[in-house]
């Protein structure tokens, strides 16, 4: 069985944020008002974190794309009292909105801050509602939501593979929307257990590291250092 994972090459990433916007479009992630956004309630399942260090004129800035880390030992799943946060047999963590009671234990537990709470019912102007993706539910107020590696795209790929009587290939057939969009080819996606995929190869590269690795969460998102 495939173990889906992502490799993010920080040397290739240009901080363009195509991943951020394409994720919003793909998953019907609501836009919040400027006031709400200023209170830190912006919902970006995929986001690019800027860091600046040094003093003029010796300054460096870094951009780090941050999706859900898709931990092998996900703290969010452990704390969820209603099994809304689940880990699939393939290891992908996803969230069943209909079960969520909005307790936000997962928000507290996640060391990466990738779970988002719907403080308000999502609203779209009438025209913009037309552009919603019918493959993916809208979340009501009081429910947490997060990146699930575009699980509906996997289902789509799986249906097609099943029609041919086979499994989804470890590379190329199923990619999350952000990976599809990335112009610099900084996001690489595939089966981490299949030694023939670019993702598994790069995950073993000497440049590879994982975010807050010492916490023991074993993320399936790897980063490649610059340089």
């Amino acid at each position: 069985m495939a173990r889906w994972g992502m490799v993010i090459d920080l040397d290739r990433c240009t901080g363009c944020q195509a991943c951020v916007v394409t994720c919003k479009a793909e998953n019907n992630v609501p836009v919040v008002t400027p006031r709400e956004a200023q209170r830190g309630r912006l919902m970006l399942w995929m986001t690019v974190i800027p860091e600046v260090e040094g003093e003029f004129p010796r300054v460096r800035a870094r951009f780090t794309p941050r999706p859900c880390m898709q931990c092998d030992h996900p703290p969010c799943v452990k704390v969820c009292p209603v099994q809304a946060m689940t880990k699939s047999p393939e290891g992908t963590v996803s969230h069943v909105f209909a079960r969520c009671i909005g307790c936000r234990f997962c928000v507290q537990a996640c060391p990466y801050g990738v779970t988002y709470f719907n403080w308000q019912a999502p609203t779209w102007p009438k025209d913009l509602r037309e552009a919603l993706n019918p493959d993916f539910a809208i979340r009501p107020t009081g429910v947490v939501e997060m990146c699930d590696f575009c699980h509906h795209r996997l289902q789509h790929a799986r249906e097609e593979a099943r029609a041919d009587g086979r499994e989804v290939r470890g590379e190329g057939e199923y990619v999350p929307a952000c990976v599809q969009a990335c112009p610099a080819r900084a996001l690489i996606f595939g089966d981490l257990d299949d030694p023939n995929t670019a993702a598994s190869n790069l995950a073993h590269s000497p440049r590879a590291f994982r975010m807050l690795e010492d916490l023991g969460t074993s993320p399936k998102v790897y980063y490649l250092k610059e340089g």
Binding site: A25, P34, E55, R99, I101, N133, A137
Partner: protein
Amino acid sequence: MRVTRRGFFGWTGAVAAAAAGAQTVRAIGDLQAATYEAELPPRGIEGWVASVCQQCPGGCGILVRTITGVEDGVKRAVKIEGNPYHPISRGSICPKGVAGLQALYDPDRLRGPLKRAGARGQGQWQPVSWDEAIATVVQHLRDLRARGEAHTLLLMAGQVRGLMQNLLLRFLEAYGSPNSLSTASGCEAAQQTLLLTQGIAEPIAYDLENSAYILSFGASLLEAGWSPVRQARAYGHLRQGTPGRRGRLVQVEPRLSVTAAKADEWIPVRPGTDGALALAMAHVIVSEGLYDREFVDAWTFGFEDWRDPAGTTHLGFRSLVLNDYRPEAVSAMTGVPIQTIVRVAREFTATRPAVALAERGAGFYTNGLYNRLAIHALNALVGSIEVPGGTVTQRRPPFTPLTPVTRDAAAVRGLAAPRIDGAGYPALSGLGAAKNPLASSALPSLPEALRTGSPYRANALFLYYANPAYSIPEFTRNPELLDAIPFIVSFSPFPDETSRHADLILPDHTYLERWQDDPIEATWGPAVLGLRQPAIPPRHQTRHTGDVLIQIAQGLGGTVAAAIPWKDFGEVLKESFREVAGAQRGLIMTTPFEEARQRRQADAGFWLPTYKTFDEFWNQVAERGGWWDPAYPFGDRERAFRTPSGKFEFFSQTLRQRLETLARRGPASGGGLEGVLRALDIRARGDRVFLPHHEAPRFVGDEKEFPLHLIMSKPMSLASTRTANHAWLAEIPDVRTSRPWEIAVEINPETAHKLGVKDGDEVWLESPAGRLRLRARLYQGIAPEVVHMPFGSGHGAGGRFAEAWGANPNRLVGGEADRLAGTPALFATRVRITKV
């Protein structure tokens, strides 16, 4: 803790109750989800339409996912992704491209033709029928022509190319007006660089994919470049595309932009001194003999001192840089350490292929064109012109030129009039030409012409993808200047600042609803022709501007109608593609693998098309997204160098010719060449005028009163002025600051400390031209004497989101221009900051 029996049961009971409760909650949750699911558009049949994005001029191929509802039969666009066959985008997309859905479904779009109801600028409208609207335009234009004032019709276009451009220019020519104005001033300046050095009036394109060393002078490679997708891909390739090799990127600019942040080295430079820095590097390259001797000897003119037929000795580029641009002197002027100048110059020559970029930054000062010439001279020194990894020029698709327009008496009279903006290229006629001898369009001169009514009054204005009241500083501050024009027609699909002053708005379809060709320009070498086709049928009572123009021409009749004889835009579109199909070159866009196979065949002398008839060609183009010709003739110097000497010219004979012609004619300025130079504010004299040199920049505002320089950038999400109404993009306006819905002024912490300003404080940003109230953000990555603001938000019109956030830095920009190039000097304004 002591556990009693009773306590134990009580506790387990609570757990049981909680579990039962959870189940109830789950059931409610399911119900809730079902309710919300009902808000989704109905499920239906999926389709993908290949088209071309128009959120910026990049010309990336896109695939639009559509769902045709089973129940209501309505076709909806639900996602935009990159087109894997299109050579520019190769399956990827940028944030603006994705957000195109919010242009299509913009809740504030114009839904049909409108007639102004209130006073100009009030924004009160009344719907009219298309027939009535077109009849009104025809009536006005006919009257104008009958009065012998055909030349007073102005066309202002921003992003326009391909057939729409041909149609508009054809219409103007047949009607009898020379006044086609462009708001794309960046392209204008880029064209002049090649005109002066290589004799071709085309923008410079760069073969970035194959470069190993990119030395960029303020180019916004990773923010607002064309196409953002191709440039990001080229960047990724530069870094990690070739095993064992990591290409270098060096960025010269006063602020640590995204490009500078991703560069190996950021060299902060004082505003307006980029050209001097480039020449100091040239000094090092020349004095150490590191230049490409073979190329310089065989293919350049004016490197060594030379003698003209009359026997006069002229200054060569070598002597110029050796004498005038010693790194010690330039270091003091630019603020760049001597060691850095020397090291970067050596690196630039040691790593091949290397290329120097001069887009945006360095070109936005009053000495912009000379800066660009100096930077392009670096490319000549290392022979990086028309070679893989160097500069290239965009090839065009093989459209056959349309038949010449028959001009009637009114047209001949109209076309003989000088241009209203005094742009002098190519005709170099009229009095105004002395003001803008190289510009093919010089918008900075238009406000003056409107104010004074000289050389004549403008009587009608067409606006096509142009919004000068937002994007041109002088019109931003005084949009009322436009009211001097009695009849204004806008073709904008969205409300905007300039359209507020229009008498009629005839909204075009959005780019996701219309047919159009999209040949890329200034992006790359090979010819690429994308086909834009409707993803969904038009949602509102809008009409293709091509069709509207044809209907106006038909209404005018005579030679104007004869010049545009087509039934509709679709007909002329197909006709042009027929030419491409018959050109016996290139291929339908396809996978890289298939492309490689076809190219091998082509190299072996076989051109095996995948189509036999035009219909087959057309269907394949529509399915795949377009046609392109991967072949690029690197090293074709005859095509690349069309100067009087047939070589790359350090000493520009083209510039000399034009200025001397002007001097001979002795227009208003008088006093020969001296007078011309004085009119153009050029301080250099003698041969230096025609050589790349550092021209001291002029700034608006007194240095004591306004101690800071204002620079701007176009962040990735705002690279076109139209994307501010897309909420997805407003949430992420600038990756550097990552603050939603916020446009702030960036200031160095040291400077801020002196002013008593803390991060997040409200401040007044003030220039001699105006002031803005903004939040200040402290940033280590900006030079102490510089402040920065992103451009693209702060709209006075354009929709509920666009009007709700941001600020427009153009309000502060003073009236300085690069007189020689005829482009606005956007970075030539001094400002001060005061706490609110």
